[in-house]
Symmetry: D2
């Protein structure tokens, strides 16, 4: 940490800051400048909580050098992590994993039809929501437990590991017993109690970035899970909120190479929730793969016009099959260039 003093800070104020740093068990090293003094803080093993320093008299600002995460950082773990989900493996340098399926499980027929067409088109995992977070209370909230069982059966019948969202701690055991991978949704990215509980299990986790979270906060949330002992973690970018109203969220593909620079964890992209618009999903899927995503998650519905949720962003079976043809050719091309 660097503490920047005001140009007119007195020697007494500088001494007081040095003492405060030393009371925290750290070393303070003043660096006099032509206009002002800065004080370097040394000896910390990680991120320093600056709130007691920041408002001492004469302090202008504090600047952090260390990051609020360590276990998920590439600095101390340069090799990419591979995450195995019932035989399907995510990881930088591996062929990307395609996850597909409906926004929510609506019925046995629907989820089975979705699983069949997803499998036929070549996806490796099945997604489907049983518990749904919805902005308002007056819309379809998911089938709950019944949906969980239907999803598991459809996955087994078609040889596809399944991923589904958990919304509260009490659901964790039952979700873990039905799903091969547990999803933490964007709205729960900073539900720290849920993160800790998921971290205590050894079940593979898909952690979505909050729509208003920086990359640093995203990695700090991931740190909660790994710090509890669960390294089987895959990150998921799904768009951030900006001032632009034309898409539901703004999908920033720059985070893929940035996450890969800073962390060893795999990162996948969800173009369906990011854009909210069916016509944009295929093109953004291809762009995400070229940007280096370790996987993509795409919403597919056997009959999008009758979907109970997010029909506007779901691909039909034919659309998904066409996309998968493109994806296969693109991945073959990318592998040929390595």
């Amino acid at each position: 940490m660097l503490i920047v003093m005001h140009p007119h800070a007195t020697d007494e104020q500088i001494d007081a800051v040095v003492s405060a740093v030393e009371r925290m068990g750290l070393i303070a090293k003043p660096i006099p400048g032509s206009q002002r003094t800065a004080i370097g803080v040394l000896g910390n093993q990680g991120y320093v909580d600056d709130s007691t320093i920041r408002e001492l008299p004469g302090v202008r600002e504090t600047i952090h050098v260390s990051k609020p995460y360590k276990l998920v950082s590439r600095d101390f773990h340069p090799e990419p992590t591979h995450v195995n989900v019932a035989g399907v493996t995510f990881g930088h340098g591996l062929r990307p994993v395609i996850i597909a399926g409906p926004c929510s499980v609506e019925s046995e027929e629907q989820v089975n039809a979705a699983a069949a067409l997803v499998k036929d088109a070549g996806a490796q995992m099945l997604r489907g929501g049983a518990f749904k977070p919805r902005t308002g209370p007056h819309t379809f909230q998911g089938l709950g437990m019944a949906g969980l069982a239907l999803l598991q059966e459809a996955g087994r019948a078609h040889g596809l590991p399944v991923v589904t969202e958990v919304m509260r701690i009490e659901q964790l055991d039952v979700v873990a017993s039905h799903a091969d991978m547990i999803q933490i949704g964007a709205r729960n990215m900073q539900n720290f109690d849920l993160l800790k509980e998921v971290g205590k299990s050894r079940h593979p986790v898909l952690l979505k970035r909050g729509i208003c979270s920086t990359i640093e906060e995203f990695l700090a949330a991931a740190e909660y899970i790994v710090a509890e002992g669960n390294p089987h973690l895959v990150l998921c970018e799904r768009g951030i909120r900006s001032f632009e109203p034309s898409t539901r969220n703004t999908l920033d593909l720059s985070v893929i190479p940035l996450i890969q620079e800073r962390s060893h964890l795999p990162i996948v992209v969800d173009p369906s929730h990011a854009t909210g618009t069916r016509s944009l999903v295929p093109v953004m899927t291809r762009a995400a793969l070229v940007a280096g995503a370790d996987g993509v998650m795409v919403e597919v519905h056997p009959d999008p016009a009758r979907a109970l949720c997010d029909g506007a962003q779901s691909l039909s079976g034919d659309e998904f099959a066409a996309l998968m043809n493109d994806v296969r050719a693109l991945l073959d091309f990318l592998e040929s260039r390595q």
Copy 2:
């Protein structure tokens, strides 16, 4: 809802949209224009889920007229709601309520000292965190259950109702048995399961706006609580995330008159978390009251330089007493002008 067709939409496409609307039990009324046709949707009792309509061939966009909330709307409940918390009442038109106290409960002495100075300065309620949401796992996480008991005792000893945050459903009963008002933090504003559980109780609730939530989403979250039967709800603005890095968040005081136009619920402001900077808290407290806030919540610590959490934004006892002098004079002035 209004459905806007493409300029080149065919009659068949228009007919198909009309049929789809009628299948939803609603009335479709085409409005031909000089360049394109729009289709008005009538007969709905509230917000219509448009996802199955939005991507039909020939549809350019759908425009919502109804809102995703109704019970919290002023349209059908013009009188302001008053919320009574152990004898302290929040409500538009009443004298604003001042809540103050430390970011987190650290010890019996600390919370008692805080309660004493808060009471002496003239605040009506005591705040204090027992369970703390922290961005990274390597910082102080709160005293938990012990903190809850200390807060309750300090409140009783000084005649101040207390408010504290609940972070997970399992904590609800114990928090409700110790606190007069339950706070839902900004990170949990869209933790819908938690909202529903809080809605099933009759305990007063303070719901903070998410840092990335629109006013409409804020009111839709409030609707979850009221829809379950709990009308004792106070809203809290605490800043939104913008591109400006100089303050922790951007406090938009325009939401106060806007919320008061659209909803009958009381709205208070938390200038401490919004700005993150002690020197801005007094001025933004006064501005919030002039903007019509039904209360403010301010962080106060007996010794900010040694606070375990958010010391940089906490007022000392002397600073808070000075602020309360200003607040009293300002509220007297405002009442004299009514």
Copy 3:
């Protein structure tokens, strides 16, 4: 336009709104609903200025159906526009154009070295700044007129059409006499007088999106140029401002397919200014091309470590040559899939 009335609007208020619309020479068509009345406005040939309607008593909000642009819209001009710049052609469906060169022209040697390596690597156009917009007044501001001449000569010597930024109307003639394409920078996207003057010429224009502009505002700015009679216009996405500090701006590649849906104008991408980080430029260049960009503009410097401006985002000659190898293979692959 649709005018939504309050649920409690009176018949008199509805009649007053109808009269106001009719005074504007338009047709008002009330649509009674179960909760409120809406009034459709017909007969307009384009976007209606709603500011006199919006605050009439009983009006809740106005909703626009028409857009504030027409000439650049695909609705009335479905064929993609091709823009020819001294023999190099931009347009949807054509092979994307690669523009490269230094942030600013620094010397004859530097711009010639840049032109040589850009040409050798296979780019079709040369970029270079003579007049530089800089955030603060105490940094390098460009060579001005001298830089313009050096850029033109370097382009001619290597057979590359050149593009450079114009910052004020008085520079227009001299810039047009030296450059094959005139760039309007992001900070000037809503400098409407400059847009109009550029529209009066027939010189090809590259219009960059403002970092805080919506797609609708971007197209409305383009409309200024085309409305004055200049159809030789290429749009350029270069990132928007968001809360994420890790990249200089947030590059949203979704705008490429969106612009192509809504407009017939070509759209190129500038990954150098968008990301501000050299290591991200190659990957985002490839992603932009897969997303359908009609071109990319990349900063290249013969010696980035000594660049006077934006060295941190400039590729070296070797890095750019390697990128162009990848780009050629990628474009060949994409063409083979059409």
Copy 4:
């Protein structure tokens, strides 16, 4: 400036960075830490351009301590600046100045009626647009030169200094000869050539913050004007763009105390453009004054329902007179508390 190295940076990389700093004529002081080395940069007289350092091998990031402005900073000019506009003075500690008038000058009668009611209500200055920046080319663009003369006459007739916007350099002389204060609009805040020209005159200037500009960028833009020799500068906050669609922009009143901490220049607030909604203007005017604004600028129109521009945010004469009654009482109250 502080340069933070990667944990695994080699001694050679550290030496190379030290050399690069020294080539810039500055002093480099390495600070070894437990995990990584940082390098303090000393000897600079102001902001250092870091673009050649930032991408040297082994560098993780650079952190700025100095700011990109100096002349407008309070650090070296602690006394507040007073700006005199034809007898009306802006400055911290003085009674705030109220500026009012129509969005645009529409006719002699309209601007005279506006001036009369503004004067009667107690405002000290008259605003009115002659040249209007409009998002799309198909709306009213202002009366131009004719409007300028009408505004000047109305001001003289009613004893009110006038302020109006300049949109291009060629207009500067004629605007300066008709107006007592020249406004630079939000869209031109980074039109650096215009800033420099305005800086060369000694005419008082009102500089509006760009809707997407940080406070640091705002002060750096002000630095352009003062650096050219014009100290007669008043800043104006008018809202920033956020994700919230309920108001036209998000008015962040925290910038008032923040600007007053960092700069000696006066700062006023424009609640009309910030909110875009008439019903919010009075309350946000009062809140701005309590937050310490050195003035406010309010849109007033004799007949808002027939305004050619921004009628939805303009107060009528009666509304403005009522607001001024409140403002007078509030300012008297605030002075009584000093």
